[in-house]
């Protein structure tokens, strides 16, 4: 997918810059098909960096996770830049956050990696549930190739990649400072087939489906914490006065949580799918986010994460906004 030497060389060079604090990339995980975020402060740290079809994490969360604590009197904040290795979808998150003024463009240095699809950990775990040793996966001729105990496995991509990758419209990062490799142009279009099919169901069917899903939610907030767009200093569920969503886990509160989180992502979610990947219960959160993505595109002609110049969806309005539903 990407020349590893070039990746490491680029990152090492970036670390020699005076204005870069550290670079976040990927390194091999500790078991099976895992990959872990990796932080390089000095050139030696970069030798661990990899890029493979297993690199599912959206690393744009890390600039938003910086903790800014009170400093001793004469100490100044280390406001140097952070380098991030981004795939196509990840770069959209960076664009969206910058658009919303969540962070400054100058604060990040984006190392763009044109991506041809990543492996869905659930799918590969289902097929190789007892793989202990860490495995390297490569993409060759439309197949994911890897070696386990001397045996070579070559599995067609479509069987293992995320659904999001199948309709990816932006395999090449939309924003980058450095691009590692040639641009990939995609003819895929997200047609929202599943969303449209679900919309046709009756109210009763729809509620039964989501009721079952919401009842399974354990309110661990993994979806919220992994999402680069969820960076509120004080999340609505952590508000105590007034308390909007109670901490009890029952259908009512779980529904309120999931509805409101999906709502807060309207016009902001860029579809990286991390929320669904990390949910321990496997709740299909991307279905909710996709629905709003489709509607926002259709009604307001707005797509999140594409242009730095656009204004955020709910920060603007148009006199032509829908009015049929208003009495």
């Amino acid at each position: 997918m990407v020349n590893l030497d070039k990746l490491r060389e680029t990152v090492k060079e970036m670390l020699t810059r005076e204005d870069v604090k550290y670079v976040v990339g990927y390194e091999k995980g500790t078991y099976g098909f895992r990959v872990s975020p990796s932080f390089a402060f000095i050139p030696e740290d970069v030798d661990k960096f990899i890029f493979s079809p297993l690199c599912v994490n959206n690393l744009t969360i890390y600039p938003m996770l910086e903790e800014k604590l009170p400093l001793p009197k004469d100490e100044k904040e280390d406001a140097r830049k952070i380098g991030i290795v981004v795939k196509g979808c990840d770069s959209k998150a960076a664009v969206q956050i910058i658009q919303e003024k969540g962070m400054k463009r100058e604060h990040v240095v984006l190392i763009g990696v044109p991506c041809t699809g990543v492996v869905n950990p659930r799918k590969i775990k289902a097929r190789f549930s007892h793989q202990g040793k860490n495995v390297d996966v490569e993409e060759k001729n439309g197949k994911f190739v890897f070696v386990i105990d001397g045996a070579i496995h070559a599995i067609p991509k479509e069987e293992l990649i995320f659904d999001k990758c199948k309709h990816c419209e932006n395999p090449t990062p939309v924003l980058y400072d450095v691009l590692l490799g040639d641009e990939i142009h995609s003819t895929e279009k997200e047609d929202y087939e599943e969303v449209k099919a679900f919309e046709e169901r009756s109210f009763g069917e729809k509620w039964d489906y989501w009721k079952k899903q919401f009842e399974r939610c354990i309110r661990c907030y993994a979806c919220r914490n992994v999402c680069p767009m969820c960076y509120c200093k004080k999340c609505m569920v952590d508000q105590l006065s007034p308390q909007w969503v109670r901490r009890s886990t029952n259908l009512s509160e779980n529904a309120a949580w999931n509805i409101m989180r999906a709502y807060h992502l309207a016009g902001r979610c860029i579809g990286c799918g991390e929320c669904e990947r990390v949910c321990p219960m496997g709740i299909p959160l991307t279905e909710l986010n996709k629905k709003l993505q489709k509607d926002v595109k259709q009604i307001f002609s707005y797509t999140a994460g594409l242009s730095l110049d656009k204004k955020p969806l709910l920060a603007i309005f148009s006199p032509e906004d829908p009015k049929e539903f208003i009495l």
Partner: protein, 141 residues
């Protein structure tokens, strides 16, 4: 058997729709008593969290009343509210909640009649849809 009487929570903006409701009252206009009014300064203040919370706490329908486009006391609040509610309704529909439960109306301070009509319409519609049970808080511990 007693007929189902819906609980409608109405968020009315202070300058237009609340005044309109006031006018309906002083004019002694008749409209269904199911509505419970919460006065907000502007419809743009209404956070969709309020709507969801109202539905959780026992509201069968929620109405957001604002000034007519162009007449908002705070210039643009009602435009933002319009966008928000359009999105919220779509989301609720996708979950399986009839979006006729969440309504918006532009009612000016002079439109006492319209306010009464709006309440009649919303109450009738929600009566037809039925009680909101989906994610109502049981408050039984």
């Amino acid at each position: 058997m007693t007929e189902f009487e819906p609980n409608i929570v109405a968020f009315l903006c202070n300058w237009c729709s609340y005044a309109g409701a006031d006018l309906a009252g002083t004019s002694r206009l008749k409209y269904p008593p199911n509505v419970k009014v919460i006065r907000v300064m502007c419809s743009g203040r209404v956070n969709p969290m309020f709507v969801v919370n109202a539905l959780q706490q026992g509201a069968d329908g929620v109405l957001i009343g604002g000034c007519h486009p162009g007449d908002c006391h705070y210039v643009q609040g009602n435009y933002f509210a319009r966008r928000r509610m359009a999105i919220l309704k779509k989301l609720l529909e996708y979950i399986g909640i009839d979006s006729r439960r969440v309504r918006m109306a532009w009612v000016s301070a002079a439109e006492g009649n319209k306010f009464a009509d709006v309440i009649k319409t919303v109450t009738e519609d929600v009566k037809q849809i039925g009680p909101m049970q989906h994610f109502r808080r049981s408050n039984e511990w």
